[in-house]
């Protein structure tokens, strides 16, 4: 096991806490232990829209149910599509909301609106959830960049994710899970030489700061420090040294290996990690496509849940899995399913949410939500709550203009909150 992912219990036992009485609360050891328990987020984005019917909300033997059977999960009475046998065994860790009902029917706007929580239009661009978390919770004690994104394709600094919060909160994207440009020390410069000249730079900056306004020096210092922390943890991008078994368990495909990198990032203490899987937009040949893709997702996502549980990180990590919408129950002429925001599912686990429950239900044909429908704003309320942030009491500050962190007409999904 990674030495950094020591479960809290090892350093700070429950018994010691209870036995220590109130005096313990003030002790620095306690404070340190609490700090180690930085709340984190894993945000799994299935781009294009996974079919709820071929995953979390199967409707076998109905008009639109498709060819797959449903299977029992580890929680009696809850069934998943048979394409997810591994996640079915993890249902007791999950909280599945089957009553999502959102507005956007197009990818171009949906991807953005869902990730920004579709707030009321105030003429400003809202931050993605990750940018909001980075802003409200900061980088945490790891000092690593607080908002990272592991994705196929190109990487870079995605400032547009930050909206009005400003470029600082944009995501640091690792294309193909690879490190950012210039992360590694120049091959011609030894570690000693690199460290020595960096110490010299710090000394020069300190001297300059002593004669000038400190603000600019402080900003410069903070980014060099973050660069140093990330350089020191360049290993989190490297899955080659992990046990063979791990790499098999997550699956030898992009999503599996990206999830493995994500695990390492969470273990290293990165505040918010997003992992994207592309290609879920199955307008044609929906069933073969899902038969190919869902098992890969099943494999990697369930391995992640197992590992986060084993390391204790699941207690402090909010896990979220969703798309920009679900897929139409009606099967089109190309044996595909189209976009369906009216009734779809998201899955959650870990920090602040109940486990082993399903919230809400769709009607028999899966076309509409039968229980109380929830828009994405309600999910944002739920997630912020789960992280200990009350959206009714917390606001963003857009250059003096206070703005709600989640849709101001919505409330959290109470049933889902622990």
């Amino acid at each position: 096991m990674n030495p950094l992912c020591t479960p809290l219990e090892h350093t700070f036992s429950r018994r010691a806490f209870l036995g220590g009485g109130l005096g313990m609360l003030a002790s620095p050891i306690f404070a340190e232990a609490m700090q180690q328990r930085d709340k984190q987020v894993l945000f799994v984005w299935l781009d294009g829209g996974i079919s709820q019917l071929e995953s979390w909300d199967p409707k076998p033997n109905t008009e639109f149910g498709g060819p797959f059977r449903s299977i029992k999960t580890s929680v009696p009475g809850i069934h998943f599509c048979e394409l997810m046998p591994k996640l079915a065994k993890q249902m007791h860790k999950l909280c599945v909301v089957r009553s999502m009902s959102t507005k956007d029917n197009a990818h171009s706007s949906g991807v953005d609106r869902i990730q920004r929580g579709d707030p009321k239009n105030r003429g400003v661009i809202y931050p993605h959830f990750g940018a909001g978390v980075a802003k409200l919770l900061g980088p945490g004690s790891s000092g690593l960049p607080p908002h990272v994104w592991i994705k196929p394709g190109s990487g870079g600094f995605k400032v547009e994710d930050a909206g009005f919060l400003g470029p600082k909160y944009g995501s640091l994207a690792f294309g193909e899970g690879k490190p950012p440009e210039n992360l590694l020390r120049h091959p011609e410069i030894s570690a000693e030489r690199d460290a020595a000249r960096n110490d010299l730079r710090k000394m020069l900056d300190q001297r300059f700061a002593s004669q000038r306004e400190k603000r600019v020096v402080e900003a410069n210092t903070s980014v060099f420090d973050m660069a140093e922390k990330l350089m020191a943890r360049a290993d989190i991008f490297d899955t080659s040294k992990l046990p063979e078994r791990d790499r098999e368990r997550y699956g030898r495909h992009d999503f599996g290996q990206h999830m493995l990198v994500a695990r390492q990032m969470l273990e290293a203490g990165v505040r918010f990690v997003k992992v994207t899987s592309y290609g879920w937009d199955t307008h044609g040949d929906n069933f073969n496509a899902h038969a190919g893709m869902v098992p890969k997702f099943d494999q990697a996502f369930s391995a992640m849940l197992e590992d986060l549980e084993a390391s204790g990180l699941l207690k402090t990590t909010l896990v979220i899995c969703l798309s920009e919408f679900g897929r139409t129950p009606r099967i089109n002429g190309h044996v595909g399913r189209d976009h369906w925001p009216a009734a779809w599912s998201i899955a959650m686990a870990g920090q602040g949410v109940k486990h082993g429950i399903v919230v809400g239900e769709t009607n028999e044909r899966g076309t509409e939500v039968k229980s109380e429908p929830f828009d994405i704003g309600a999910a944002f309320h739920t997630w912020y709550h789960a992280l200990g942030i009350d959206p009714l009491k917390t606001e963003f500050d857009n250059a003096g203009q206070p703005l709600p962190i989640a849709h101001d007409d919505m409330l959290p999904i109470q049933e889902a909150l622990a």
């Binding site: 706007s109 000249r197 903070s222 060099f224 660069a227 250059a399």
Partner: protein
């Protein structure tokens, strides 16, 4: 004879100043400063501002040794006479006006020409707002509009964004919130102020290059009625003719039938048509005028910000009655004199440079553009000429490993602000830190190579003076000299490496990357 003429001219100008009072002196009277920057601090500041880079150690040495009392004024005038000044102003205005939306050769050429020939600001703005697309000399100006109206992906054409930027850039007002309702926090800004401009810009259509037009161009539709808008708060319907913010509505001429067209649209011959009434030309005439007080104040404030490091009104695009300038009399004065001098930017810039506040000790630490940082870095490392000569990079030859364009690309990628963000403050990022710490570009420039900084330093028994002059444009203090000595003693096994590391630390330090 020549000297006589200069004396004569000087006497004449002094006479004129004595009568009118020079703007710089009036500013000094309003903002007297306790102490002036020393020569080295002034030299670096003025060079970064007017040339866009830093002086070489040799140039600095000569100027610092000059004892004549008027050498600062002469330096300002010398730098303003160089082509570099036009290039530097073009760079600064490009970043200010386009906010890193992209590069365009014709636009850049237009900006450089404007500053070379000292085009008045009102003429520049008229050309940007209503360019003649067929005139080779001014079509570059159209990039301001056309770039903003390009469709990106599936998003709608951003007419609202263009409307907002015209207010921000030319009147110093950000009307974004007034797109859907009155401004919530600024009582001066009304929905009609946004809508009057929006009516004009939403009527534009971006047209592709064709036989007549060498660049993308804009056509206007026929406007024969007022533009209607609704407040999302009150649901009250209102309407406005084309109108500049806080101004009068432009009368919409009444035509019957097809009379409104100068050239009728005709699909068969792909003629998009040209109306007789051009709202775009109307606002382009009405915004850059002496009557529109915000026009002069906005640019005076922006130029002040550029050279002083702090706007008299901040944010730069939030002029309104409840956000008064920190020195109202001064902004009033700047706007008035700038207007009286026919919006002459050179006049304004030179007068600001001559003030005590520009030349004071301990000025605001100012952000450098990626372009300034690159120029300063290449002058300091002594690698600029080599890179300029390298037309094409050759990875197998050390001295030809990079061309200037490679460095421009790398520095902009690592140091420039993201697109559509005003580039105002020093904004160090993880990406820039990683670039300086680990990139091969920085490593390459600091390897000893014939004639470059490290090569020169390695030959000097006591390199501190040259090192500090070349990088920070100043002499080192005794403590700094001692630090370098100690460093060389400890790491002197390979003197070039030790010097390269010291230079790296200086060039990665905050002092190098701000103007102060």
């Amino acid at each position: 004879m020549k000297i006589g003429l200069i004396v004569c001219l000087l006497a004449l100008t002094t006479l004129a100043w004595a009568k009118e009072g020079r703007l710089a002196e009036k500013i000094d009277a309003l903002l007297p400063q306790p102490s002036a920057a020393d020569d080295a601090e002034f030299l670096r500041r003025v060079w970064l501002d007017f040339d866009g880079g830093i002086p070489t150690a040799d140039v600095a040495r000569v100027w610092l040794a000059d004892q004549s009392p008027d050498k600062r004024t002469r330096l300002i005038d010398k730098l303003m006479g160089e082509t570099r000044f036009a290039l530097r102003m073009a760079e600064a205005f490009h970043v200010m006006l386009m906010e890193r939306r992209g590069e365009n050769e014709e636009w850049k050429t237009w900006l450089v020409e404007c500053f070379k020939t000292n085009q008045p600001w009102d003429a520049m703005v008229r050309e940007m707002l209503a360019p003649d697309f067929l005139d080779e000399k001014q079509r570059g100006a159209s990039y301001f509009l056309t770039r903003r109206l390009e469709k990106l992906g599936q998003q709608d054409t951003d007419y609202a964004g263009l409307t907002r930027d015209v207010g921000r850039m030319f009147m110093g007002i950000d009307l974004q919130c007034c797109q859907c309702h009155r401004h919530l926090t600024v009582s001066d800004y009304k929905q009609i102020d946004f809508s009057g401009l929006y009516a004009v810009f939403q009527n534009l259509k971006l047209q592709p290059v064709d036989d007549k037009h060498k660049i993308p161009w804009l056509s206007e539709g026929l406007i024969n009625a007022k533009y209607e808008f609704v407040s999302v708060f009150t649901e009250k319907k209102s309407e406005t003719a084309p109108r500049i913010p806080f101004g009068e509505e432009v009368m919409i001429p009444v035509f019957t039938g097809d009379d409104g067209w100068l050239v009728k649209p005709d699909r068969k011959i792909k003629e998009v048509g040209q109306p007789k009434f051009s709202p775009l030309r109307e606002v382009a005439q009405r915004i850059p005028t002496p009557e529109n007080a915000l026009f002069a104040k906005n640019i005076a404030n922006r130029v002040w910000f550029l050279f002083i490091g702090k706007g008299l009104v901040e944010p730069l695009d939030l002029h309104h009655s409840e956000n008064p300038p920190m020195h109202p009399e001064l902004l009033e004065l700047l706007g008035r004199e700038f207007t009286a001098h026919q919006f002459d930017l050179r006049f304004l810039i030179r007068e600001i440079a001559l003030t005590q506040v520009y030349q004071r000790a301990g000025a605001h630490q100012r952000h450098l553009l990626a372009e300034q940082k690159l120029r300063a870095f290449l002058t300091a490392t002594g690698e600029r000429e080599r890179l300029e000569k390298n037309q094409k990079a050759d990875p197998n030859v050390d001295s030809a490993k990079y061309a200037l364009a490679d460095f421009e690309k790398a520095f902009t990628a690592a140091l420039a602000n993201p697109a559509k963000e005003p580039e105002l403050a020093a904004n160090p990022s993880l990406r820039s830190a990683l670039f300086f710490r680990n990139s091969d570009h920085v490593y390459w420039a600091l390897r000893p190579r014939a004639g470059n900084l490290i090569d020169r330093l390695a030959k000097l028994p006591d390199p501190a003076g040259e090192l500090y002059l070349a990088t920070l444009t100043r002499q080192p203090s005794d403590a700094e000299k001692a630090d370098l000595q100690a460093w060389l003693a400890a790491h002197g096994g390979d003197r070039s490496k030790a010097l390269s590391d010291y230079a790296w630390a200086l060039l990665s330090s905050t002092e190098f990357f701000v103007n102060h």
